[in-house]
């Protein structure tokens, strides 16, 4: 299981546009991906509703996890989006 821990820098947290970009990128991944608030229960990163339900705020840490072929590339991309102050689509 590969993991990344990232501090969410966007002012609106992992909501709205950053969340949409995050989930859209996760949805394209060939493997399952989860995301959790540091210390919390992981949820399906491909589900916008689940990600919104986490209610990740600006400054919170999240742990993104994936397993299998291509997991590292996916995690790199998602970590970049989550950690970006003003994410834009790749």
């Amino acid at each position: 299981m590969a993991e990344r821990r990232v501090k969410v820098e966007s002012e609106v947290g992992l909501h709205a546009r950053p969340a949409a970009l995050f989930v859209q990128a996760a949805a394209k991944a060939p493997v399952d991906v989860t995301v959790a608030k540091a210390g919390g229960q992981p949820v399906n990163a491909k589900s916008i509703l689940a990600v919104m339900g986490l209610d990740v705020r600006h400054g919170d840490d999240v742990v993104i996890a994936a397993d299998g072929e291509g997991a590292d590339a996916v995690l790199d991309e998602l970590a970049e989006i989550a950690g970006n102050k003003e994410p834009s689509s790749a």
């Binding site: 002012e11 709205a16 546009r17 859209q24 399906n44 916008i48 689940a50 919104m52 339900g53």
Partner: protein, 550 residues
């Protein structure tokens, strides 16, 4: 040719087919079950969700701008895999597709509602997707304004800002509503779009979709299946009015040269071309709600600055008066915690009152205004809505000064402010009378209720008295007192307002030419006499007649 009569609130003639927004999508019966063919049921439900997602995505791309973000976020929700799994599970337990969808959305509603603050607007988004999906499964019309291959006349019980946010102006030939009044959202929108509108029109919702109608926004008449002759006559009359309006030109002034600047009310940069076309000398009311409503995140500093700069740059030698955010109560902000249920939104925590609860929103807006103002030659003035007393006035002016703004005024729309105008004038740089809400509060008559049209008239002597009191209070402290309510756009009332001491008039751009022509035909003395005559009467009708006679 059957005819419906209402209140004409935006001049012009529109002829075309009726289109009505669909009604609410009904909740599928609780406990509805399918016939046992689970696979088909799942296919129906998931197919509907996918169709909704695709449709939202397509409309988002078509709409562009901010609407695109809202719609594509909704599309993402409709395509949510967790939601699909939940629907599948419920159908597996025997629940019918529409009900399974309804219940699955219900579960997510709960999840979001408990997750915290900003979710209020997201719940509304979810409900919208749920309704669209159920509508697809049940073969019902989509909720909201339908898309149409050709332009149409939009007919509704009433229209709220949310209903019209995504409306394509090129598609609407005219508006007709059963409810509403001269200052309702429909009237204001129609005037700013330059589209004819008739409101408070009983029987409007009875017009069958597709019926060809003629809407005369000046006469307040809707004719079903009009003859070619009727259409020609109506268009001819509208053209004659337009010609009369074009007769006067130049800055607003009375016949004897007393200047009365004529400014435009705008809802955003897209209203600027019409304002310039009709000769607006500046902007007397720049409504800023468009930057804040119907979105999940607050506008960035850059977004705000760009929006303000765009309008300021269009009037390099004029003044632009920006009204700070007038939201809260029945216009909640998606990025703030949902306020408690309010029994009387018009009397609630809105406008400047909301700014006390969320000062950072006001501060950010003032800072963005100051930045935009520094970079332009236009004269930027800012004003606050829903100011009630001296404490409100001082708070706002202090906040504006701190942000670096040198001209801060207040809207006078609350009767308490009008009655104590002198006190408030000593603490602010200018007044702008919001006659729409002032009339509503003074006559205790809801702007949206068609049956109260008589009480919604600014000709009510009590309203004229308060306008006079406000102008006098302003004059005593040498501050300008403009009017930005729709009353200023009426050619007769415009003269009366000048006679009462109002120093400038701001209105929907389309109203400017006729007001300019009307002022140019009367001396200031005549305006004063008209005002005195109106105030000497005891009913609105008599006041109007007396003013006309002068």
């Amino acid at each position: 040719m059957p005819e419906l009569r209402g209140t004409g609130v935006s001049p012009g003639v529109g002829v075309g087919p009726v289109l009505q927004p669909a009604g609410k999508v009904p909740e599928p019966p609780v406990g509805a079950r399918h016939d046992g063919d689970m696979e088909s049921a799942v296919a129906v439900a998931l197919g509907a969700l996918k169709a909704v997602a695709d449709d939202l995505e397509a409309r988002g791309r078509q709409a562009g701008g901010e609407a695109a973000g809202v719609l594509s976020a909704q599309a993402l929700m409709a395509a949510d895999p967790g939601l699909a799994d939940d629907v599948r599970r419920r159908i597996g337990e025997g629940t019918a597709p529409a009900r399974a969808v309804y219940d699955a959305f219900g579960a997510y509603r709960e999840l979001l509602a408990s997750a915290g603050e900003y979710m209020a607007a997201r719940v509304a988004d979810l409900d919208d997707i749920r309704d669209r999906t159920v509508a697809r499964i049940e073969g019902l019309p989509m909720p909201g304004i339908p898309t149409s291959p050709e332009p149409f006349v939009l007919v509704a019980r009433d229209l709220a800002p949310a209903d019209t946010a995504l409306l394509d102006p090129a598609q609407v030939l005219a508006f007709v509503t059963e409810e509403g009044g001269p200052t309702s959202h429909t009237a204001i929108l129609a005037r700013s779009m330059g589209v004819p509108a008739v409101v408070a029109c009983p029987g409007a919702t009875g017009l069958a979709p597709g019926t060809r109608v003629l809407v005369d926004g000046a006469a307040g008449v809707v004719v079903t299946d009009p003859s070619e002759d009727a259409v020609r006559r109506a268009r001819g009359a509208a053209a004659a009015r337009a010609a009369a309006a074009a007769g006067a030109s130049g800055p607003g002034r009375t016949a004897d040269g007393h200047p009365v600047p004529l400014l435009a009310n705008i809802g955003g940069p897209r209203d600027v071309p019409a304002a310039l076309e009709h000769g607006a000398e500046g902007v007397g009311l720049y409504r800023t709600e468009f930057l804040f409503l119907d979105r999940a995140d607050p506008p960035t500093a850059k977004e705000q600055q760009d929006a303000y700069r765009e309008v300021l740059d269009a009037f390099p030698t004029g003044k632009v008066v920006v009204r700070t955010l007038d939201a809260g109560a029945d216009k909640p902000l998606g990025f703030l915690p949902p306020a408690g249920e309010e029994p009387n939104p018009a009397l609630g925590e809105r406008g400047l009152r909301m700014a006390r609860a969320h000062p950072e929103v006001l501060q950010e807006q003032l800072a963005a205004l100051a930045t935009a103002g520094r970079e332009t030659s236009a004269r930027l003035q800012v004003m606050a809505p829903m100011v009630t007393d001296l404490a409100d006035t001082r708070m706002f002016v202090a906040a504006a000064r701190e942000a670096g703004l040198d001209s801060a005024g207040i809207m006078v729309e609350v009767p308490a402010a009008a009655l104590r105008a002198g006190d408030l004038a000593s603490a602010s740089d200018f007044f702008s009378i919001g006659t729409n809400d002032l009339t509503q509060y003074v006559c205790a008559a809801d702007r949206q209720v068609g049956a109260l049209a008589r009480l919604q008239s600014p000709w009510q002597p009590a309203v004229l008295d308060l306008i006079a009191a406000t102008a006098e209070g302003a004059a005593a402290h040498s501050v300008d007192c403009g009017v930005c309510g729709e009353a200023g756009g009426d050619p007769v009332m415009a003269c009366v307002l000048v006679g009462l001491g109002v120093t400038s008039l701001s209105m929907g751009a389309a109203s400017i030419p006729l007001v300019r022509a009307s002022l140019a035909r009367h001396t200031r003395d005549q305006c004063v006499r008209a005002a005195t005559a109106a105030r000497s009467r005891v009913t609105a009708e008599e006041a109007l007649a007396a003013a006309r006679a002068e």
